[in-house]
Every structure is written in structure tokens, then in C-alpha cells.
């Protein structure tokens, strides 16, 4: 599973960077649309989450010229765009549904205060973006070890990889996730 996903994610990133055809967009949608939908569903009703998915991939297409594969894999870039479209959704909903003073609202949004839902979605976005940024096989290794609680020996056997390689991917991956978490905490503190 991992080797296929590795090749697939890398191939999609390259294809989208060098020749962003509608077919490449469709493949990117098939690969990452479900993740964007799942994240959006955490924060809003499914119909609104569908809108966010639609807006995300419309943005992906319209800003395709700005995608730089050297800056990171396509998946991480798509998650970053989804983050903005989710923020747009909250802003528009807040404006239309909550009769609050616009300046107060703006301040709260800027400070990222007062919405535990946004915190959770923010966490999901950050973690998914970093996992995508890790690339394969690190992403799969971190998920197997941390989320599925598999031992390094099990992962090494499953992925047909030396245990030392698994350990070093895992250690580097978790270090990056931890750094990102501590950075974002320091920034908001």
C-alpha cells in the first residue's frame, strides 16, 4: 500500500506542477478530496462541507500556477488551501448568522479565540498538512506507529524495510510534528 501511495502522491505532485491538466486535477481530487471532506465534516454540516470541498478544488485549479513542488508535496498545498476555504466559510457564516459587532468578530477571528471547533479543525488541518509534507514512506510509518499503535518490528516487516529505517523515519516525523505544534503554540501564546 505504501509504495503505491508513495509513487502516486509524487507522480501527482509532478504532474500537477508540470502539466496541470483537468485530468491531473481530477486525480488530485480523488486522492485528497476525501481527506478535505472529512476535515470539513468535523466543523460543519455535510452540505456545507461539500461546498468547502468544491471551493477548495476550484481554488486549487485557479491558483495552479502558484503551486511550487519544491516548496512541498501537492497534498500539503491542498490542505493549506482547504484551511483558507474553511476559514472563509466560518467568516461568511459568522457574518450572516451571528448578529455581532463586525469589529468584535474580526478581532476574535484574528485572535483565533472563542471557537473550540475551529481549534479542533485547526489541529486536524495542521496534522494532515504536516503528514502530507513528510511524504512517503514517513507518513505511512507515522500513521501506523502512532494512530494504529503498531510496533516498529511489525511496520518493518509489513513495509519490507529495515527496522532502523523505520525508526529513523518515525523519529524524524514525530520530531517535525512536535516542532510544528510547539511553534504554533508559541505563536498563539
Amino acid at each position: 500500500m505504501s509504495s503505491e501511495e508513495t509513487v502516486e502522491a509524487e507522480r501527482l505532485s509532478r504532474a500537477f506542477a508540470h502539466d496541470p491538466s483537468p485530468e491531473a486535477l481530477r486525480q488530485a481530487y480523488e486522492r485528497w478530496g476525501g481527506m478535505v471532506f472529512a476535515i470539513a465534516c468535523r466543523a460543519m454540516a455535510p452540505h456545507d462541507a461539500e461546498d468547502v470541498v468544491q471551493q477548495t478544488f476550484v481554488s486549487v485549479w485557479r491558483s495552479r500556477e502558484s503551486y511550487d513542488p519544491d516548496a512541498g508535496p501537492l497534498g500539503a498545498w491542498i490542505v493549506a488551501i482547504a484551511r483558507r476555504r474553511i476559514a472563509d466559510h466560518w467568516r461568511s457564516r459568522s457574518a450572516s448568522e451571528l448578529a455581532v459587532d463586525p469589529e468584535t468578530l474580526h478581532g476574535a477571528l484574528e485572535a483565533g479565540e472563542g471557537d473550540p471547533v475551529s481549534d479542533a479543525v485547526e489541529n486536524a488541518l495542521t496534522v494532515q498538512e504536516e503528514l502530507e509534507r513528510l511524504g512517503e514512506p514517513a507518513r505511512t510509518i507515522v500513521r501506523l506507529a502512532v494512530v494504529e499503535d503498531r510496533s516498529t518490528a511489525w511496520i518493518a516487516e509489513r513495509l519490507a524495510m529495515p527496522a532502523g529505517t523505520v525508526k529513523s523515519h518515525l523519529s524524524r516525523g514525530l520530531r517535525r510534528l512536535r516542532d510544528r505544534w510547539e511553534e504554533s503554540h508559541a505563536a498563539s501564546a
Binding site: 486535477l25 476535515i39 455535510p46 491558483s63 471547533v117 494512530v147 494504529e148 499503535d149
Partner: protein, 252 residues
């Protein structure tokens, strides 16, 4: 004093034994590092997302909005052909793309409980309505497909699975079909979840590779569109164990 290498700290944080690990017990620096890695791991776990395929219409709407072919296997398009769409303003720098009918689609705001969507372990918020109706029906040719789902394996130990809602003589049935029934400690339970995995309905025990379960008459599939199969220990606790093997969204 020689501190542990980072790989060992990470391994200890994830509960694996490492050579020289006893050092951590008497070293404040190393135990603080282990605690920090453990926190990072917990955060990844809490934030993990199981992809859920959006309904089929979403891609069609994207394709329509961008005026690109929506069908699979569309004629290859070169980068220059695609330039027409680039005349439009890049959305990432322009005004927020807002839904025209946000107000019409207004929905309830989800509470903090929705945050733990990924980990169903938070059974406290899960109003579990046990509606245990297992029906063993003989084959009946007159059934209509109402909805179907591809169930994604959530564990690497299981293969593919599918679910289908059929209507037969006015009774809706959920048919769950797995390639191979896994051996588990306990039993398999089939659930329907709301999109946030906050509310759920227990449908019954899965004891064959193809199992049919009756759906309660008034159950709104739009409100509970996610099929989930979990491993439940024999602990007498009627709530979801949090240990799911498959999950997928029903599409009509």
C-alpha cells in the same frame, strides 16, 4: 551522563522497550523529552482523519464551475489548453468564495463533542441507541437498492468491504459484505453514525461475511449516513468501543 538518542526517546514515548531505556527513569531531561513526544503522538491520534469520499455530485459541480470535462478518461489536455481558465482571478488571493445559499443551508453548530470525531472512544457524548434487530431473511428477488457505501478498512489487518441499503417489502435492510470475516477478541458490531461520529445507532451483530440488519423504520439515513463496523469486547458496555475496522459513507 549520556542522554538517550532521539530515536530511543520516540520509541519510549510510543511504549516500546529500548536498550538503555532505564536511563530515562532517573534523567529529568530525557523524561521531559519523552513526555513531549508522547504529547505530540496523542495530538496526532486525536487529529487523525479517516478520508470520507464526498458524494459523487461534488466533482461534477467542480468540473461545471471550472468548465473542465467531468468524465473520467477525458481527452488529454495540454497546459496551454488549460490557460483559458487562468484568465479568472486566482481564488487564493481574491475575495473569499462564499456559498450563495449559506443561510438556507444553515445547520446547527456542533459542540465540543464533535472535536473527538476521529476517536469514537469518547462514549460519553455518544448517545447510543441500541436498536438490535437482526433479521435473517431468505433470498427475495424483489429488493431495491436505496444506497451503497464502500467501507474503507481502518486497520491494516482487514480487506475490502461494502455496504448496501436495500428496501424489501417496505423494510429497509443494511447489507454489509466483507471479503473475509476477521478473527477478533469479542464480536463485530454494525453502527450508523452521524457525519461527526457524535451520534450513533447500533444495528446489531455481524457474524457472517454477508450480514443483513434491519433498519429502524423512522431512521433518517441523511442524519446517519456513515456505516461503521467495530470490534466490541464482551464487557457489557453498550457503547461503541472506539475500535473500528471499517467505515464508509452511504450514497444514494
Amino acid at each position: 551522563m549520556q542522554h538517550l538518542p532521539e530515536e530511543s526517546l520516540v520509541a519510549l514515548a510510543l511504549g516500546e522497550a529500548v536498550e538503555g531505556g532505564e536511563h530515562a527513569a532517573e534523567c529529568a531531561t530525557c523524561s521531559a523529552e519523552i513526555a513531549a513526544f508522547r504529547t505530540a503522538a496523542q495530538r496526532v491520534r486525536a487529529a487523525d482523519v479517516v478520508p470520507v469520499a464526498p458524494p459523487a455530485g461534488v466533482w461534477d459541480r467542480i468540473a461545471a464551475e471550472l468548465d473542465v470535462p467531468s468524465a473520467t478518461g477525458a481527452a488529454p489536455t495540454s497546459a496551454s489548453d488549460a490557460s483559458a481558465a487562468s484568465l479568472e482571478a486566482p481564488a487564493s488571493t481574491g475575495a473569499p468564495v462564499t456559498s450563495i445559499d449559506v443561510a438556507r443551508r444553515r445547520r446547527r453548530r456542533f459542540g465540543v463533542g464533535a472535536l473527538v470525531a476521529a476517536s469514537l472512544a469518547s462514549a460519553a457524548v455518544a448517545a447510543s441507541i441500541a436498536v438490535l434487530v437482526v433479521t435473517q431473511l431468505g433470498s427475495d428477488p424483489r429488493s431495491t437498492n436505496v444506497a451503497q457505501a464502500t467501507l474503507d478498512p481502518l486497520a491494516t489487518t482487514v480487506g475490502a468491504a461494502r455496504a448496501e441499503v436495500v428496501e424489501r417489502d417496505g423494510q429497509r435492510l443494511l447489507v454489509v459484505d466483507v471479503d473475509e470475516l476477521p478473527e477478533v477478541e469479542g464480536y463485530l458490531d454494525v453502527w450508523l453514525l452521524d457525519p461527526d461520529a457524535q451520534q450513533m445507532v447500533s444495528l446489531g451483530v455481524m457474524d457472517a461475511s454477508t450480514t443483513q440488519l434491519a433498519l429502524p423504520g423512522g431512521l433518517d439515513l441523511d442524519a446517519f449516513p456513515i456505516v461503521d463496523v467495530s470490534v466490541e469486547p464482551f464487557d457489557g458496555d453498550p457503547t461503541h468501543s472506539g475500535d473500528s475496522l471499517w467505515r464508509g459513507a452511504l450514497e444514494s
